[in-house]
């Protein structure tokens, strides 16, 4: 066999062997990885409403129990009504409710925004007044570590707490990432609609601002209902020890 042919054959065999190995690893481990991603998702939802502290680690069972007891996964119809299950043919949006003592404390919106290098995924929690943000978390992104990647850090996320998505006239303005510090750049009247930007990550901030605006606008019908105190969803208390039925 000529040298060139030998190289091609070797490369081909190598590729086949490697593909088999990686496919085996990926499919074999998929179960475990998906479970971890789900726990992480639940953890982020709980973090966005302040049910777990950002710096502590919690065992998976604790997360599972907390989530079971406090969070309801529901859907929103286009007019803002909250329903238990999505209706076929209708444009239903997923939404999470933080329920305590049979009362809705906050609603959590899944965020899917454009970022500089990929999508940004997180959760934005709004209090039951439909106006004040109670928390923001980011669980997946592809931004540069140290620059745009700071969006996953505590210091960036905690600035969202207490910001308002409607102005004094009651118009929807969403919340935006400022270029620089809010205290220095933003006029007093606007301060509660902005959070501090990340130096060196102006574009990430810009994309996130647009993404948040788009998503919050989509969920405005829900927010409006909460502002009018017109949410008619009754959280059904979960059975904590389901008997086999």
């Amino acid at each position: 066999m000529s040298d060139r042919l030998k190289s091609i054959v070797f490369a081909a065999v190598l590729c086949v062997v490697i593909s088999l190995l990686l496919t085996a690893a990926s499919t074999g481990l998929q179960r475990f990885q998906e479970k971890n991603v789900l726990i992480d998702k639940h953890k982020n939802i709980l973090k966005s409403v302040g049910l777990i502290e950002p710096d502590r680690t919690y065992p998976p069972e604790t997360i599972a129990t907390l989530y079971q007891n406090s969070i309801r996964e529901v859907w929103a119809e286009p007019d803002g009504t909250i329903i238990e299950k999505p209706i076929d043919g209708e444009q239903n949006l997923p939404i999470y409710l933080y329920v305590k003592d049979n009362d809705i404390q906050a609603y959590i919106i899944p965020i899917n925004s454009r970022g500089l290098w990929g999508r940004i995924y997180g959760y934005l929690a709004v209090q039951s007044d439909g106006t004040t943000i109670s928390g923001f978390t980011v669980y997946k992104h592809s931004e540069t570590p140290g620059l745009g990647g700071e969006i996953e850090k505590e210091w960036f996320q905690k600035n969202f707490v207490g910001k308002k998505i409607i102005n004094l006239q009651g118009e929807f303005v969403s919340v935006a990432v400022a270029k620089g510090e809010v205290d220095e750049r933003i006029p007093e009247a606007q301060k509660e609609h902005y959070v501090d930007g990340i130096s060196g990550a102006t574009l990430t901030g810009k994309y996130l601002t647009v993404g948040l605006h788009r998503v919050l606008d989509e969920y405005e019908p829900v927010s409006i209902r909460f502002r009018k105190n017109a949410v008619q969803f009754n959280p059904v208390p979960r059975k904590s020890h389901p008997e086999g039925s």
């Binding site: 070797f10 490369a11 490697i18 190995l21 690893a25 475990f32 570590p145």
Partner: protein, 214 residues
């Protein structure tokens, strides 16, 4: 020449493997002497825990990549050898990354891109080219282990100081007692940033060079 079983430790010390490991820890340490693999050494040494996981991942990757490349050394066509080496290294790293995501998810999130960057770590390709291609499998495996251990020793050392001085903790446990903070002691924030890492690594390198010259 058989091993002297009445004095097993002395016999162990004379074995080639032990000498290889000791050399990689000291005389030819990959980070402080060969100045390889610095970027990951900066990023993952903010905490001791991430440094330990990274050390383990790199050591296993370089050991097994050396083993496999050495086993195939007579088969690999010369003209595509670098690509073949990188393919083998990349496969091992991806498998390591998938294992981390499956069983140590939170740590894998903290390590984020740096496990993937092991593929580009000069130590791995350097040992493959410099040793595995011209030596039999078992010594190559030991050489990989040795360099991995040398790298790990620096990583763990740097992480030890950075976590202790930068956040008063070790492995997440508070080590600096509360009374120190009340007396006015403050964590050295610089240790948590890249310049702090540069400084510690520089000091380690200087110390090692000085001691080696004596």
């Amino acid at each position: 020449m058989g091993l002297n079983v009445t004095r097993p430790f002395a016999a162990l010390r004379r074995s080639k493997s032990f000498k290889a490991i000791r050399a990689a820890l000291w005389e030819v340490n990959p980070i402080s002497k060969q100045i390889l693999g610095i970027c990951s050494a900066l990023a993952v040494t903010v905490q001791l825990q991430t440094a330990l996981v990274m050390s383990l991942a790199l050591t296993l990757v370089v050991a097994f990549s050396n083993l496999i490349i050495s086993a195939l050394r007579n088969l690999i066509p010369r003209n595509i050898r670098i690509i073949v080496e990188i393919s083998i290294i990349a496969t091992l790293v991806i498998i390591a990354d998938e294992l981390l995501k499956a069983f140590l998810y939170d740590i894998s999130k903290q390590l984020s891109v740096f496990v993937g960057l092991i593929i580009t770590n000069c130590i791995v390709l350097g040992r493959a080219e410099g040793y595995a291609l011209s030596n039999p499998p078992l010594p190559s495996f030991v050489d990989g282990l040795a360099n991995g251990i040398g790298y790990s020793s620096i990583l763990v050392g740097v992480a030890f100081f950075r976590e202790l001085l930068g956040s008063g903790k070790l492995l997440g446990f508070q080590v600096v007692p509360a009374v120190f903070y009340q007396a006015g002691y403050e964590n050295m924030g610089l240790m948590l940033l890249a310049p702090g890492a540069f400084i510690v690594i520089g000091l380690f390198t200087w110390l090692q060079h000085t001691l080696l010259e004596k």
